[in-house]
């Protein structure tokens, strides 16, 4: 499949819709082990991104992703702002000037986004952050798409399932990074909000394929 500006526009709109729909839910998760703003922050970011897309009407994937990245960076705040901002900025930079990209390009973009997250947040798998969803999903994509040359559309169900599993797998973890780490053992038993929004990220990425 080929991914053009229309695809990324669909993706961002679906992601934004999920964030807004899950504002309360994400906020509740964050209230349990953080400061109760993740949903509010991501919703504000989603609305800012849509607003800017509306007025700036980007013509290329790179431009669109940069606008979204800057919107998140300058409106989300907290930990999630720089992290998700970086995701979109890194994707934008990886894609470069191409009008359309293929499955492998998209995976490389996501791989760079993950590197961005880890460079910034210095978190590893198992520390109860969004990395717990991102790293396994990106590894899976690398294996399936870069090595085995599958199309993403063929493995969509598995991606969503994996993301969901890994999101849930944060429940028994003790947080070692971010605000939840202040809780020590008391962070165990709660699902990580950032892992949850990351699940929504990959779900949106897949759902944007159809149509």
């Amino acid at each position: 499949m080929e991914y053009d500006v229309k695809y990324f526009d669909r993706f961002v709109r679906i992601f934004a819709k999920y964030l807004t729909e899950n504002k309360e839910y994400l906020t509740q998760l964050d209230a349990a082990i953080g400061d109760g703003d993740h949903g509010i922050n991501m919703d504000r970011g989603a609305r800012t991104a849509l607003e800017r897309l509306g007025t700036m009407n980007p013509k290329t994937p790179r431009e669109l992703l940069r606008i979204v990245g800057m919107a998140l960076l300058s409106s989300v705040g907290g930990a999630a702002g720089p992290l998700y901002g970086t995701v979109f900025m890194k994707m934008s930079m990886t894609i470069g000037n191409k009008e359309k990209i293929d499955d492998k390009d998209l995976v490389k973009a996501l791989e760079n986004a993950l590197i961005g997250i880890k460079t910034l947040g210095k978190a590893e798998v198992g520390e109860k952050t969004m990395v717990d969803v991102w790293e396994p999903v990106v590894e899976f994509l690398k294996e399936k798409v870069l090595n085995e040359e599958n199309e993403i559309s063929e493995i969509c169900r598995e991606i969503i399932k994996l993301a969901e599993e890994r999101m849930k797998a944060t429940i028994p973890m003790q947080a070692k990074k971010g605000r939840a780490s202040y809780l020590g053992e008391r962070s165990i038993g709660h699902q990580d909000p950032g892992a949850t929004s990351s699940y929504l990220f990959f779900k949106s990425l897949c759902e944007a394929l159809s149509e």
Binding site: G34, D35, N41, G77, G78, A79, P82, S181, L183
Partner: protein, 333 residues
């Protein structure tokens, strides 16, 4: 949720408008991106001191903008770190040619956002340094966590750092003395009630009528443990023990004290807390050089208190005593 607000989405903007209306002689406000800055900015030949963080902790940080303290403060949304564009624009507005020092409370989000702003500014040739304040002893220090939270110590860092910039110290010197504050300051907080972020509309946590949270964070983050309510003196004893275990004080040491209200605590109760804190310090022969009692770093309408102890030396004492003229702290001016 009952609050004196209009729309939860506009609380920060409207607060800033109300703030500048109150202190037009001291501060100015820039919107989109939001920051508060000294009315006489940029002050040439002086290091620019900038801080920021989530809103809802007022008077921190905006209340400490002015002569002898901050050059600018960047307020995020309620309880949410500010974004890099705020610090970037604020720095460009107030920079006086001698570089910029960021005072950052140790939260993942704050650190990341300030770091990004520093990178942007450095790329444009500005000298930028940061000091991270991590004074909350409620959080066990550990290599494998985000480290301690930054709380009340920030007020002293801003006061003393601001005095150093006002004396014309270099960026390196200012950084060094703020690091000294960071190293010698400890805090701990407790909460009797939660608070409600306007956009969330619900209390950040629940606490029953006979419980308090020991080691609460300023964003309502749960603390070390939840305990049955006790008399003030016993609570203060627990708090002071946590501080003194972490930073032992000896007979003859001198300290600055901050007995801080979380926003919804009557001043009467803070004085009752200060009574016991003072008795305990007197008991071990520690001299209380200066005491602040009141709402200095809050969590909206939360009821509770925090105690901050800063160990002083002659340099810190002098800088602490220097004039300050800001909305929330006035000294010798």
């Amino acid at each position: 949720m009952k609050k004196l607000i209009n729309n939860p989405e506009n609380v920060v903007k409207e607060m800033l408008e109300g703030m500048v209306a109150a202190y037009p002689d001291l501060i100015k406000v820039h919107f989109s991106p939001n920051f508060i800055y000294r009315a006489d900015s940029p002050v040439k030949g002086k290091v620019a001191l900038i801080s920021g963080g989530g809103s809802g902790h007022e008077p921190l940080h905006g209340g400490y903008v002015g002569r002898g303290m901050l050059d600018a403060a960047c307020p995020g949304e309620v309880f949410t770190s500010p974004t890099p564009d705020q610090m970037y624009e604020a720095a460009k507005t107030v920079e006086g040619g001698e570089g910029i020092l960021f005072i950052v409370k140790n939260y993942t989000g704050d650190v990341m956002n300030f770091d990004m702003a520093a990178d942007l500014l450095k790329a444009e040739g500005y000298k930028v340094e940061s000091v991270v304040i991590a004074d909350d002893v409620a959080v066990e220090e550990s290599l494998y966590s985000a480290g301690r939270r930054g709380v009340g110590g920030t007020v002293f860092a801003e006061k003393i750092g601001g005095a150093a910039t006002e004396r014309g110290w270099s960026l390196e010197e200012v950084k060094k003395v703020v690091e000294k504050v960071a190293k010698n300051v400890r805090s701990i907080g407790i909460a009797l009630t939660p608070c409600t972020v306007p956009a969330a509309g619900k209390p950040t946590f629940e606490l029953s009528e006979d419980e308090f949270e020991f080691g609460i964070g300023i964003h309502g983050e749960p603390g070390r443990k939840r305990l049955k309510m006790k008399p003030a003196d016993e609570i203060v004893q627990m708090m002071m023990n946590a501080i003194l275990q972490d930073m032992p004080l000896e007979k003859g040491d001198e300290v600055a004290l901050l007995v801080n209200g979380m926003g919804g605590t009557p001043l009467m109760e803070l004085f009752i807390v200060n009574r016991k804190v003072s008795q305990m310090l007197d008991g071990i022969g520690v001299k209380r050089y200066k005491t602040l009692v009141g709402n200095y770093i809050t969590s909206l309408e939360m009821q509770g208190a925090s105690i901050t102890v800063l160990k002083l030396d002659d340099e810190l004492k002098e800088l602490l005593d220097d004039p300050a003229l800001t909305p929330a702290l006035r000294w010798k001016v």
